[in-house]
């Protein structure tokens, strides 16, 4: 007769919830940071444009021939 069969339960550590949350927030902050860099670049370009426009170095009007 065969020995009693033992059903092996898979024993896993499982994910560490706190670590996963921290990883998720970090990734979110990195992605948000990239967006913020894009936003600051846009602001810098806009400011440069209007500064040049104010100085008269550029113009939005095509010069008449």
């Amino acid at each position: 007769m065969a020995g009693p069969h033992r059903i092996g339960h898979a024993v896993t550590q499982g994910p560490n919830v706190v670590k996963e949350i921290i990883y998720g927030i970090t990734l979110g902050l990195i992605a948000g940071g990239l967006w913020k860099i894009h936003h600051w670049n846009n602001q810098r370009r806009t400011k440069e444009f209007y500064d040049l426009l104010e100085k008269g170095e550029i113009s939005t009007v095509v010069e008449g021939e």
Partner: protein, 414 residues
């Protein structure tokens, strides 16, 4: 210094020149492979433009008019629109943060608890700590959003005490009327003109479909002015995205908005409240000019010949305007509502209903002889404005005026 911002008149784009150049480089790189890889690496290292992201996304609009496949905002021309864009960017930061976080947690949950890796699911009913945390932290985020949002909202609602000029924008079906009332005394007629869309058949090279009009609203740049918006029939909406303006035109109500356009240019908008069959064909075009050009432009809008002569061969209701070149004078003026005929019974005057449509103001052509009719169109057609041409076509006037006359008029050979 090399101008990095290529100027355009009609569709100003100021932030886009270098972006467009970089996008072209990226697009070329797709074809040539190696160049695009180098370019991607370069932008990723220096983070100066992040154009590699923009190159991957759909076309981003960089003009003062709607673009095909547009994804983002149009370039801001007023501080109000710049504030709207900045607020959008602030909120989008939180959106990206939450989106990436939620996606990460979702993907990790699917990864860790896959049925092959984790055949026996856990029976978790509640977790007090995590429930408290996931209630408090999300409620803090709207606080960070609300602060800039309310600041912008209240700054947009501020009423300008002393605007330089006031323009009235009156919505009709399906055109707009603009009035400049600041340049006349109380008993004079104010400067008024209609603004009709230019039909597709009449567009010139470089003009935009469904966006161009025959008479633009001319405003001074870098000046705070006020627009009073109303409607003569059904609700419309006066919207110019570049200026961050959208104001409902409600019949019987005057809505006011203050604008300060920061750069010269031409800004396009469209009617934004369903108003009938031609709702999509009533655009708005605002042309911001320098202060010194503004006076010249407004002066040119004034009518040259206020009293046109009358041809005795035709009824008095058809004055023929004899002037050289294109005239802005309407040969079919509306009846003067300010001076109605006196009544004998002493009751108050009822102003006559003005003829709103061209076919109501035309003479009865069917009673004329053929020669008279041809002569009428010969004289009238050259002064016919685009808006009237459109009116005739829209209201299917050809059965009234006859095929031959219409052909003569269309060909403009007379």
């Amino acid at each position: 210094m090399e101008n990095p911002f290529t100027p355009y008149l009609g569709s100003e784009s100021f932030c886009c020149s270098s972006i467009q150049r970089n996008k072209k480089l990226y697009r070329l790189g797709i074809r040539y492979g190696f160049t695009s890889v180098l370019y991607l690496i370069r932008t990723m290292i220096f983070f100066d433009n992040l154009n590699f992201l923009e190159g991957l996304l759909l076309t981003i609009a960089h003009c003062d008019a709607a673009e095909p496949w547009q994804l983002g905002f149009q370039d801001a021309a007023t501080p109000m629109m710049q504030g709207i864009i900045d607020l959008h960017h602030d909120i989008f930061f939180f959106l990206i943060l939450i989106l990436v976080f939620v996606l990460w947690i979702l993907v990790r949950a699917l990864w860790h608890f896959h049925f092959q890796k984790n055949p026996i699911p856990q029976r978790i009913v509640h977790g007090t700590t995590i429930e408290i945390l996931r209630t408090i932290f999300p409620s803090i985020i709207p606080m960070f959003i609300a602060i800039p949002s309310f600041a912008l909202l209240y700054s947009m609602d501020e009423v300008v005490v002393d605007p330089a000029i006031t323009i009235k924008a009156i919505g009709h079906q399906w055109y707009r009327t603009y009035e400049y009332s600041d340049y006349n005394s109380s008993d004079e007629q104010s400067l008024t003109f209609d603004s009709y869309t230019i039909p597709e058949d009449d567009l010139e090279l470089g003009q935009s479909r469904l966006l161009e009009v025959d008479n633009r609203v001319v405003v001074p740049a870098k000046t705070v002015f006020r627009i009073i918006v109303t409607s003569a029939d059904v609700p419309h909406s006066w919207a110019v995205p570049s200026s961050g303006v959208k104001c409902d035109a409600v019949p019987g109500r005057l809505n006011q908005i203050s604008i300060s356009v920061q750069r010269e240019g031409v800004y396009y908008g469209q009617c934004s409240e369903i108003c009938g069959t031609n709702h999509a064909f009533t655009p708005i075009v605002v042309e911001a000019v320098s202060g010194k050009d503004y006076g010249f432009r407004v002066k040119n809008l004034l009518p040259k010949n206020p009293v046109p002569p009358t041809n005795p061969d035709f009824p008095d209701s058809i004055p023929i305007v004899h002037c050289s070149g294109e005239s802005s004078q309407d040969p079919f003026p509306f009846p003067d509502l300010n001076e109605p005929a006196p009544r004998d019974d002493g009751l108050p005057q009822i102003p006559p209903k003005p003829a709103m449509f061209l076919h109501e103001r035309l003479p009865d052509l069917k009673t004329m002889t053929d020669e008279q009719r041809v002569e009428f169109w010969r004289q009238y057609a050259q002064f016919m404005r685009r808006n009237e041409i459109m009116e005739l076509w829209r209201y299917r006037m050809w059965e009234r005026i006859g095929e031959n006359e219409l052909r003569l008029w269309r060909s403009r050979e007379v």
